[in-house]
């Protein structure tokens, strides 16, 4: 199947190298992952994240539908607020994670939520099917092709974004969103991100993506998925399809360390299984690791202790900020205490490692 191209693809094609991700051909690197990573930690970078899905939900039962298909409590959201949530199956296994935006009242749709790359069609179908099955009066629309999304991230993001918006985004609370023109393009500007830095995610119509991207070209370092991955790994943020996956890495929100997204006092698919899991406690949990020997722990490598495999790495990289190899993975809870000494099997060689608290970097 041909890869989907984000609307900005041709705008930066000459400057980037590309990779397939979630069915999309995305920029992995512009200049260097290390330089892009540093720009976001120290000043400001811009990412094309148009591979993320957008699904709009409207109608009288929009809230009920969202409530019954996501783990968090959407009734806590006022217009202009957002919420991180898990989409779970009947057994409480995470299918995907998502940001749910409750849109400002001036918009047609009440909710817009953002599933991960490559999940938009499956999740949209899940919403449509359940809406019908439950006889709810809601409209669900997969708008992934209608929206471009860019993330402007870094300590200088607020000043940078504010300079091209008509709304005052510097006073926007973390997690909130407003309608605003961005370089004259009608957009939604949310103070959200996936890097651990202050920043904004800007949703604009696909046709106007270039105008928005170009408005930031002079001020922001263009960044690819490579640095997006090193930045989120330093924060210990989950990557859908890798740190959890309904087929390859089936995990509940409790195992994955996002039990705080589970509102057991609401009714949603997976709620009963998760209530049981919550009272029983987890056997394995998501942890950070730091290698104490040279090497890099990668996805799929075994975590070893007392002479046997006790778990595995789901994400690993060299931390550009720390200059140390960091990883994320699952271990039995008895090994989960930060400071616990373990090893990672790196291509047949055991490298000493230590369980570490996340975020790996300070002051985040």
């Amino acid at each position: 199947m041909a890869l989907r191209k984000p609307p900005l693809h041709d705008v930066y094609a000459a400057d980037a190298s590309f990779t397939g991700f979630g069915g999309w051909e995305m920029p992995v690197e512009f200049d260097s992952i290390r330089a892009e990573h540093a720009a976001v930690r120290e000043s400001v970078g811009i990412f094309d994240v148009s591979h993320m899905g957008e699904i709009a939900v409207s109608g009288p039962d929009a809230t009920a539908l969202m409530q019954r298909l996501t783990s968090n409590d959407v009734t806590r959201l006022s217009p202009g607020e957002s919420q991180y949530s898990a989409i779970t199956d009947e057994s409480g296994i995470i299918i995907d994670d998502t940001i749910v935006y409750r849109l400002p009242e001036t918009r047609d749709a009440e909710f817009l939520f953002v599933p991960n790359a490559g999940h938009d069609e499956e999740i949209n179908q899940r919403w449509v099917d359940h809406c019908e099955e439950w006889g709810l009066d809601a409209d669900v629309e997969n708008q992934t092709e209608d929206w471009a999304m860019v993330a402007v991230q870094g300590p200088d993001a607020a000043a940078t974004v504010d300079s091209v918006t008509d709304a005052d985004v510097t006073s926007l609370s973390k997690g909130n969103l407003v309608e605003s023109d961005v370089a004259t393009v009608e957009s939604l500007v949310a103070r959200t991100g996936y890097t651990g830095e202050d920043g904004f995610e800007i949703l604009c119509p696909t046709a106007d993506a270039e105008a928005v991207w170009t408005a930031f070209a002079g001020d922001c370092t263009p960044c690819g998925l490579g640095s997006r991955d090193t930045l989120r790994t330093e924060m210990g943020f989950l990557l859908s399809g890798q740190d959890f996956d309904p087929e390859d890495e089936p995990r509940t929100p409790y195992e994955a360390g996002i039990g705080w997204t589970v509102a057991l006092d609401t009714e949603f698919v997976g709620r009963d299984a998760l209530a049981a899991a919550e009272s029983e406690g987890v056997e394995e949990t998501f942890v950070g690791l730091v290698l104490r020997e040279r090497g890099v722990a990668r996805h799929g490598y075994d975590i070893v202790a007392d002479g046997e495999s006790i778990g595995h790495v789901t994400s690993g990289t060299m931390s550009p900020t720390l200059g140390e190899a960091i990883a994320l993975g699952y271990v039995p809870t008895s090994y989960a205490e930060p400071g616990t000494e373990v090893a990672v099997d790196v291509r047949g060689r055991e490298k000493r490692a230590e369980i570490a608290a996340t975020p790996f970097i300070e002051d985040h």
Binding site: E29, S32, I33, R34, T230, G295, V296, R347
Partner: protein
């Protein structure tokens, strides 16, 4: 665009060996280091180890990829660039100079086919993972 000095031979997989004398310096090409991006780790044989042409002798890892290294010559390792253990980025900064990987005493059997410098359109370094 990418340098490929003619005083050395190259494998399709972009490892090079210098060809002036009994000792060859082995490394990866400018194109290869650029394809890999920021190199963060190298795994190399030890002095005294034998390497065999076209067979794996080590691994170079960038932030985004793990790549096997293939020997451009056969012979005995006489030196390893230990500077790379603390400064693997030298492979990016100076692939034909300070970013060398090994020195090898080339085995007598020089049946190796010489090859011309690779074009930048040649195959990428083999990536795994």
């Amino acid at each position: 665009m990418f340098e490929a000095p003619e005083d050395r031979k190259y494998l399709e997989s972009h490892e090079y060996a210098t060809t002036d004398g009994e000792t060859a310096t082995v490394g990866i090409s400018d194109f290869a280091q650029d394809e890999l991006g920021d190199v963060v780790f190298v795994e190399l044989p030890e002095v005294g180890d034998e390497i065999t042409q076209h067979e794996e002798f080590g691994v170079v890892e960038s932030i985004k990829a793990v790549s096997d290294l293939y020997a451009p010559v056969s012979g005995t390792v006489t030196a390893v660039n230990e500077a790379l253990f603390d400064q693997p980025e030298l492979v990016n900064e100076d692939p034909y100079g300070d970013g060398w990987l090994l020195e090898v005493e080339v085995a007598d059997d020089r049946s190796s086919k010489t090859s011309s410098p690779p074009r930048s359109t040649a195959s990428k370094p083999s990536e795994r993972q």
